[in-house]
Symmetry: C2
Subunit: 187 residues, 2 copies
DNA sequence: TGAATTACCTAAGCCAATTAGGCAACCCGG
DNA sequence: CCGGGTTGCCTAATTGGCTTAGGTAATTCA
């Protein structure tokens, strides 16, 4: 009997790939075991079950995305940084739709605190250094940026723009223009 | 044997209430049958199964929300209309979180076309009458409005704002201010 | 009132999730 | 090279959800 050589890391990695291929909702112990050529109970030595598997993929995705976003904003400021951050999210959502969906999964408080989630808001807040907002306004701005980016990606990936012109990317650029202008002339 | 007096409409209505109480993900033939005090197969005379049940709840929610939004924007224009539309979405999402989640479910093209979905984009487009955008820019604006509203509601309901100040409603008002200003001075 | 309709039921099959426990492949001290 | 411990993957078995088939009793209407 040839062993498959699984580890927790490899199982989670394969889970992320499966989610990208078939959708995050299809990520279960069953589908993943099939893809790995292994019986379902074999996964239980490496992950706690379907729920734990999904949580681990979510944590992986949050960390990957935070790394990508951090790289994108490094050395940039102002609108350039805003656009780079936004593009890193949109690019990740297009390349890895299952993982992006995983980042939207609700985590319990302790897990969320220990995840890369806080790095995301720190990065968004870092962008604001290039604009000059009063301290009290910064959280409002962080929330607006998050809403626009996540809202747009969600509508686009749900196919909301598929059957209407003009091109979705044009709308995306307009949305980022609007946010940039708003940050420079905060109400 | 006392009959429960189910109809398709009552089943779907109960499904919507269950989704609001326990979350849309918990809406299954099993949980709903338990709540209705009926055996699971009894539901199959009224709805096609779990998937069909969810689709019907989604269609109900889309229609309810479109009605509410239409009422909100009637007789208003400009920023007043924008705020009324946005508040109707946010209010619905707070009062009926399960139904709101249902509206985000992906429907196949034919079902989506026949649903109240198109009324939502028509209503958003109607708001733009109070602003004066070139025809070619209107779809960009519709998409921006949708992104901000849905993005904000999603982040808020996911608990993204729970552990940070200031109050979420203050950020919401700022976001709507930004959209209003953008629509009046479209880039 | 009796026959057609229909609302709900039981029975049964399939599949996913999970737990318990077994065997064989690998790892390492001798 | 070899024997013992460790561990990776297995089979078996339980539970519970989804769905279909088909039966029975309540309702309806001629």
């Amino acid at each position: 009997m040839v062993r498959a050589g699984l580890t927790t890391e490899r199982v989670v990695q394969a889970g992320a790939e499966l989610a990208d291929d078939l959708g995050f909702a299809e990520l279960t112990a069953s589908t993943l075991a099939r893809r790995l050529g292994v019986k379902v109970p074999s996964l239980y030595s490496h992950v706690g079950g379907t729920q734990d598997l999904r949580t681990r993929v979510a944590l992986l995705a949050l960390a990957e995305l935070a790394d990508r976003a951090a790289l994108a904003v490094a050395g940039r400021s102002g609108k350039e940084a805003l656009v780079a951050l936004a593009e890193s999210y949109r690019g990740y959502a297009r390349e890895h739709p299952g993982r992006y969906a995983a980042t939207r999964m609700r985590l319990d408080t302790a897990t969320a605190m220990a995840s890369a989630g806080p790095r995301h808001s720190q990065l968004t807040r870092a962008i604001l250094r290039g604009y000059h907002l009063a301290e009290a306004e910064q959280n409002h701005a962080v929330r607006l940026i998050g809403s626009v980016i996540h809202g747009y990606i969600e509508l686009e990936s749900a196919g909301g723009f598929d059957h209407s012109l003009p091109d979705a990317t044009e709308s995306w650029n307009r949305a980022l223009d609007v946010v940039d202008i708003a940050l420079r002339n905060w109400p």
